[in-house]
């Protein structure tokens, strides 16, 4: 009797675990489905014009995604422009230059940047970094490049520039750690041959390591991009939350995620809510596409480099 009840549990165990696995699959589909259904009133009302309209006026029920999309793209672009070169040289430092002990400590510290919750970046950005930017960096930028359209307007600290710089800090550890792994995958023999011919460290890096690992680095950048584009709290704290597009990086703006964070609980009207959900849908689809591309690319690269996965 005892044995019989025991063996009978096995199919149940198998199905239960399978159901949990399928739950993950269903969730991704469920999120997409829910967002489409939730956004339906807005999808029907505004059509594709939603993406091209700059209007955002809850009083007159006019909604368009353009300023949020613009803000998301610009803040992410600033973040990537700063984070990618910085991550590359830090990875270079970790793999080629630092002694092993230093490399481990510095690598650990950089990875700790990834563990800091986004809201802490927000607090620091709003109360410490934005004022610092307004007092020291922005006046300097304006003085160095007078009349340059990106550095116009009063130095408020809060705005696109600070959002971009904080995003850079937040994605830095992700790009650095993947880049470091890619650099470490370069076979030692290849590097040693270059050193043996009398190359300097930089020459080995530029002519051997980087060409060998470039695809992995590109994949790492895609992963960082996916993170930056959906980052919410840190951006919401410092971007200024204004539904207008300005050429200057000193100006306040908004991003898709910051608009959601700020206005979701205030949306009393169905169309307003649907417009916000449609913004969420846009963000979700973009991150899905970025991730699919990044995974496919990294996997292809790993296979090419003969790494076992």
């Amino acid at each position: 009797m005892q044995t019989k009840t025991q063996t009978n549990l096995d199919p149940a165990f198998r199905w239960l675990t399978l159901a949990s696995g399928l739950a993950v699959l269903l969730l991704v589909g469920g999120i997409l489905y829910t967002l489409v259904i939730g956004a339906m009133p807005s999808l029907k009302h505004f059509g594709f014009g939603f993406l091209a309209s700059q209007a955002w006026d809850p009083a007159f029920m006019e909604f368009g995604a353009l300023s949020s999309v613009y803000g998301t793209l610009v803040s992410t672009a600033i973040g990537m422009l700063i984070a990618v070169p910085l991550s590359l040289v830090i990875a270079l430092f970790l793999v080629e230059i630092a002694p092993p002990v230093v490399s481990r400590l510095v690598g650990g510290a950089i990875e700790l940047l990834a563990a800091i919750p986004s809201i802490i970046y927000g607090m620091w950005g709003l109360f410490v970094f934005a004022p610092f930017l307004a007092d020291y960096v922005q006046p300097w930028l304006a003085a160095v490049a007078p009349g340059f359209p990106l550095f116009q307007g009063p130095p408020m600290g809060i705005g696109m520039l600070s959002a971009g710089i904080i995003l850079a800090l937040m994605i830095l550890p992700f790009i650095t750690s993947v880049t470091r792994d890619v650099f470490q995958m370069v076979p030692a023999v290849v590097k040693e041959s270059a050193y043996g011919m009398g190359s300097t460290t930089w020459e080995v890096t530029r002519k051997v390591t980087i060409p060998y690992g470039i695809q992995g680095v590109v994949g790492a950048c895609f992963l960082g991009l996916g993170r930056a584009i959906g980052e919410t709290m840190a951006v919401t704290f410092v971007i200024g939350n204004r539904h207008e597009i300005s050429a200057s990086l000193f100006a306040a703006g908004n991003s898709i995620a910051s608009t959601l964070a700020n206005e979701f609980t205030e949306a009393s009207d169905d169309l307003y809510l649907a417009a916000l959900i449609e913004l969420g849908l846009v963000l979700f689809v973009v991150t899905l596409v970025l991730q699919v591309v990044a995974r496919w690319w990294l996997r292809r690269t790993a296979r090419k480099m003969g790494a076992v996965r």
Binding site: G21, F93, E231, F264
Partner: protein, 281 residues
Amino acid sequence: MKHRSLFARRSIDMAIRVLSSLAALIGIAMLGWILGTVILKGYSAINWEFFTELPAPPGMPEGGLANAIIGTLLITIMAVLIGVPIGLAAGVWLAEFGQQSKTAEAIRFAANLLMGTPSIIIGVFVYVVMVMTTGNFSGTAGAVSLAIIMLPIVARTAEDMLALVPSALREAALALGVPRWKATLGIVFRAARTGLLTGTLLAIARVSGETAPLLFTALNSPFWPESFNEPTANLTVTIFNYAMSPYDDWQTLAWGASLLIAASVLGTTIMTRGILWYRSR
């Protein structure tokens, strides 16, 4: 190829070395700047009242965030109770049954996508599914959002850790006539214990600092958490609300809460690293 003198090549090399060391220094300096700020500003906010009192109206001294601390704990515990068992079960299926099958590959792919989904999107999803249908914000909805974020992390680490257990152990158990579920839960789980624990801890560390998914699910509340069916006070949304307020004493409380959150998240992360490092020796 252009010929360069040895001196020029060495100078360029030196310049790059200096540059990359500087970049690493910048990274560490930023970490120090952020943590230093949080510790300095948060330290002055933390006192006995901070842990025992309800929030006071602005201008009144002696307010605390006791309700938010308890609320965050309760929401996190509930998220763990939902997310970890399902995540572990999914990991078991991937490692023990699914392996290289098409279904397993699809689940892995979906788990990766879910891990990279912005947490605010999870919040919107739970809002539509749980808040719109029931008509009120609730601690349960907050816990479900966090559980959804934990689920793929727990599942993928569990799968990796279970796969590390040598199949000889499973085969030995099965050969003795032990049913599969018992072999998995009693033997394979025990062998992979540390790994499963670290995966779970990492997932907890990841969600305990989350704000975006709670903004419109658990919302926030100035009262003690009494029921999970109503808006529930929590630390991270409190930080957001108080930081955006014009009151100095509320902003100070927000710094105190930031220190508490940062310390617990970083503490858990470092502890997890410590366990892994200790194990790998």
